[in-house]
Symmetry: C2
Subunit: 355 residues, 2 copies
DNA sequence: CTGAAAGCGCTTACAG
DNA sequence: CTGAAAGCGCTTACAG
């Protein structure tokens, strides 16, 4: 047996036909002339080991580029060091930046992430959750496109921690969302700080909680400065088309009756609105300052002029969720509830300059 | 022991404090009064089993909502039924639709996917691949943002199948990419079919193979119809800004010297160009028909008018890669090489109508 | 048709 | 400091 191993060793890497099976801890132990228990200890730096032996074992492991089977490890530890991530954002706009944050938080722990990106529907959801469950993930993070829709509680797995990100969740769940109201407040305050007094708001459907919260933030910022809202919040779809059309309503009138700034509920609306103004011969920011929400780079940077907007800090959101997950997995007692992560104002040219 | 189980059973689902540990096959066996070997057979419908016993075991499993530990299964089968997916598209534009295709192909096989989305760099790449390797993934799919850049071969794992998608790869690798030349040919042919004769091409950097291939397709389509290219391909960045500026060059001249159509290397360039034309008072498609490439919905549908473009069929690409992966894992002998997946022309209003 | 036993690759008390 | 043994939750020859 040892002989065959020796023989195979010569070929490592030189060709991959008849690839020698990956070495196990037994291989290492034999080569290093120790028991597998000792090999295990040497490899994990656990228990008391002779420095001599430790080095020998490690050297062998190195040479054979041994990697302990995480499957076997998972079996004995009853912990797989994996997480499931459920999302219905098949597009990736939110999910990937968020995931990057989660990964970052978990990198040191060597946990890997199963991604399930499918439109939510009871059938697929059930299947996906069952799959994660069978794989014994240590935890599940549930993501959504809307903070006011979520996965039905009865479908969620039992017995492992669940963290919600940008999704609805039952009271007492661990949940992280962006700060819609605060972001809107910041954007509107910025417009006011730039000297604007007649600040309108154009946004997505009022059926979205996020749209309502952003409108709230807009109102609060105005109120704080003693400014009146410029008309009602103009709810519509989250599209460029909405911004484009609303612009005509708002600006196709005598100058004195027009707003001098518009806070838009997302970057796409802002983009449509700005394009519309350009076609009407109006200048941004001279005739109207415009701010958006999302900091979706392909829009915010391509808008003419580039768009001042709120960055929702998706990565930070993910990192926070990842760290919470870690705590939960490690059995730390931590109070559940919703944490909202503040966005940051990204200043570009669409608002002009503060005085 | 049996008694304690009975006791706990009453609480299942009613509360999750002191959650009873998930049942193992041993639990099932005890409850069903059979050996674990028999339980295993009943559950897997394998070997010869009395119909009677089979039903009894299954019923018990059902009641306890037993799920076999895939960790344990993986250990004995030496196959984890997991795949690694490596991508440097942190944005998700390509990755998620592609992933959806891979998942679809693998759904029946119950394989789950580890996603690693990080900017490629030797250090992180090495770490991520090592992680996948340690997890014993059955295969790895490597994705890229460019078909002419890839992961250095020496970093790739040995001994498991690797499939490349939209990425460079060594000769003899299993690789799936979109058909840039063919798509460009289709788009250009469509413009010609719409009666255009002076068809220009504006695209991304010539350092990108994709840009060169798209230019090739443009030229071939023109040649086939006996049309001369309208000037050289205008290479620049893949941005709206590029399209926006080039439009001035191309159209700020007497009508007789202008193109009557522009095939753009991507949707963003097309968007910039169309916006520019609008500001110049030119009509699309009357003054110039415009086609793009990518069918990135937020652009293609928001452009005024909506953009005719090439859809790269990312999901199909993913599905093809997933199916190939399955074949490779199952040891089917299949010839390696590059498969290119044709795109499809999506007609919208930016090209007018074919006669 | 069914059970006892070995084994997948590890870790970890338990003895020395 | 080191080794033999049991065990994590399964599957699968091997005997009956």
């Amino acid at each position: 047996m040892a002989d065959r191993d020796e023989e195979r060793d010569g070929r490592r890497g030189s060709r991959d036909t008849g690839a020698s099976p990956r070495p196990t801890i037994r291989t290492i132990a034999e080569r290093a002339q120790v028991s597998i228990a000792t090999a295990s200890r040497a490899l994990n730096d656990t228990g008391r080991i002779g420095e001599e032996t430790r080095k020998r074992v490690r050297k062998v492991a190195q040479e054979l580029s041994y990697r302990p089977s995480s499957t076997a490890r998972a079996l004995v530890h009853r912990r797989t060091f994996t997480l499931g991530l459920l999302t219905n954002d098949r597009y990736g706009r939110f999910t990937l930046p968020m995931l990057a944050g989660v990964s970052e938080a978990l990198a040191d722990e060597d946990v890997s992430i199963f991604l399930c990106a499918e439109e939510y529907g009871p059938d697929r959801l059930r299947a996906n959750i069952a799959a994660m469950d069978a794989r014994g993930v240590d935890g599940l993070v549930v993501t959504g496109k809307r903070i006011d829709k979520g996965v039905p509680a009865e479908l969620l797995p039992q017995g492992i921690p669940v963290v919600f990100v940008h999704s609805a969740a039952a009271l007492g769940a661990h949940r992280f969302i962006g700060d819609d109201e605060g972001g809107a407040h910041a954007a509107t305050s910025h417009l006011a700080a730039c000297g604007r007094r007649r600040i309108a708001h154009v946004s997505g459907p009022a059926t979205f909680l996020a749209a309502r919260l952003r409108a709230d933030g807009w109102r609060r910022a105005l109120e704080e400065r003693g400014l009146a809202p410029f008309g009602d919040a103009l709810h519509g779809t989250w599209t460029e088309a909405h911004g484009f059309e609303v612009a005509r309503h708002l600006f196709d009138r005598p100058r004195s009756e027009r707003p001098d700034a518009v806070f838009c509920g997302n970057d796409q609306i802002a983009r449509g609105l700005i394009d519309s103004l350009a076609l009407m011969g109006l200048d941004v920011p001279d005739d109207a300052a415009v701010a958006g929400f999302d900091n979706w780079d392909v829009f915010a940077e391509a808008t003419r002029p580039p768009l001042t907007t709120i960055d929702p800090q998706l990565k930070t959101l993910g990192r926070a969720a990842g760290m919470r997950m870690l705590d939960l997995i490690n059995g730390k007692r931590v109070d559940p509830g919703t944490v909202s992560i503040p966005g940051v104002l990204v200043k570009r040219r669409s608002c002009g300059l503060e005085p």
